[in-house]
């Protein structure tokens, strides 16, 4: 079965997971919804060929679309070296700090972090999704983790294992 039915089934089953990944990539709920919608629309023309195992291709489109959007929007954004004031304490403070730190990573670094440490892809799988060499994934991950340690100091001890 490779028609609309299997597509609808896949969307119903996986849209939630894709939205979580997209949210980590974009940092915004609306952007995440739009990103997932666009990614799913874009895979429809190739659905006949990927219906057997759509996940890798869908993920690839999702990440590429995210990186491309960041490039297109970059010129509209105002860059600053100072982060907005983070909540000092409370149950949401950790989330906000991590979210702001992710937002300050380069889009490919952010994608590597999300794919490797949230979606639990291997380095090789991550490289395939991003269309880069495994060595590039390693270096991007290393740089991203260093940056995260700087931006979220309390992440330091949590990153000691993954950073090695």
């Amino acid at each position: 079965m490779s028609g609309p039915e299997s597509f609808e089934e896949y969307v119903a089953a996986r849209r939630g997971a894709l939205l979580r990944t997209a949210y980590l990539l974009t940092g915004h709920r609306e952007d995440a919804e739009d990103l997932v919608q666009v990614a799913l629309v874009k895979v429809v023309p190739r659905w006949g060929r990927i219906a057997g195992d759509p996940e890798p291709y869908v993920r690839k489109v999702l990440v590429h679309e995210s990186v491309n959007r960041w490039r297109r929007r970059r010129w509209r954004e105002v860059h600053t070296d100072r982060l907005p004031e983070a909540p000092v304490a409370g149950p949401g403070a950790d989330r906000v700090a991590l979210q702001q730190a992710l937002a300050r990573l380069a889009p490919r670094q952010r994608a590597v972090i999300v794919l490797r440490y949230y979606d639990d892809l291997t380095e090789a799988e991550t490289a395939r999704v991003l269309g880069v060499a495994v060595g590039t994934v390693k270096s991007q991950a290393r740089d991203a983790l260093v940056r995260l340690r700087e931006l979220v100091p309390d992440l330091g001890h949590e990153l000691e294992d993954v950073g090695r």
């Binding site: 119903a12 949210y23 919608q37 659905w47 989330r95 440490y117």
Partner: protein, 441 residues
Amino acid sequence: MTTLHDRLADLADDAPPGGPAPGLWERGRRYHRQRRAGTLVIAAAVVLGLIALGSLDWWRARPEPMPANGAPALPQRIWMPSPWLPGTDETGPLGQLAALQPAARRSWTAVHDGVAGVSATTGEYAFLDLPDLVLTGLPGIALAPDGGHVAYWYSGETAKSPNSATGPVVGLAVYDTSTGAVVRHPVETDHGVDPVSLSWADPARVVYAYYQWAGGDADSDMERSSGRDPSGLRVWAPSSGRDDPVRSPGGADDVEASTAHGQVLVGSGGSAIVDVDRPDHAVRFTVPNHGFGNTTAIDDHGTWIAWPHGSSNPGPIAYGRIVEGERVDYQEVPGTRRAFSVRAWLDRHHVAAVQRVGGGIGPSALFSIDVRTGTSTEILRYPLDTYGTTTLLATDLIGAPTAERPAPPTPLDPRKVAGGAVAVVLGGLGALVLWRRRVRA
């Protein structure tokens, strides 16, 4: 212990909820159709652009419909050929020629001197692919009076250090305009030779002369630019290979005109008419107020001479009878004050001479001029700004009726065509990328 995965998962809990999203399939199909339609339109535009470019290239390069092979004739107009005109290696021999027109010839990476032939029977143009051709100025090439052969100097290997800047010239050759066959006549030379004369004594024999260069690339500047050991005037028959010296009065070796019947005018200013078969019977005379070389004509019998008179060029045409041992008693042709050269005697009372059309600053043309009255009739028009000096005509055809021939094709610069094609394809690819980005999923 909390891990990075846990922290990311915790953050991802803020993501919107999942669930079905109706309409995505149809949206995807619509997106696909839009992208495909745009792609097809752009691809069609690229193909149309390439077809238009190819058509323009073909249109510019297409040969005009040529008349069926008719009677040999001079065209009414000589055109400066496009540097991108094909050569005879591509088109095949042109057959009997009416004219030779030296012109720049281009390749993708270089420009060099070439010689275009003009068919006497169709008017078709093509560059002559003459093996090892060396164009050394006026004596560099000669068209037989009947247009059937072209004589030229060729380059090759020398016995010692070559005089590379001059070719080096190591012999003369004759190209058959009907078969494309080339007969070579090598000369023994250490460094190459400096051609002095190359002309047709008659439709079967070439008269020529040269000096040996005193030095080659490995020698001093003085030796490289000095000539020695003149060959003297010689006559060569390509069909038999026979080559003989021609004794001329005072050893004169600069051929200025030919009757095309075995007699040549030698000596600057016209000092003697030499019959190549009876050199002992040379007729010596002097030409008064003879200005520039290679502008004089003698009649078929070697008894009448005509030339632009005076020390400036253009000038009036003078003519007179040649009498052994005497200065030519000449008369000026009435109304001819702007003649560049006299090319031939057409009959007892008419010469073919090059003058400006209309007498002002305009194109030059070959006119038939009645020496008694100065009455002129245009025979053919030369390319602009050439004054007829570079065009060589088959002199046997000058007296015959001319024919209206089409202009040669003007092919586009293939580098520009290729550049245009690349630009069209790149433009198409650019448009494709933009379009595919603009289509909203």
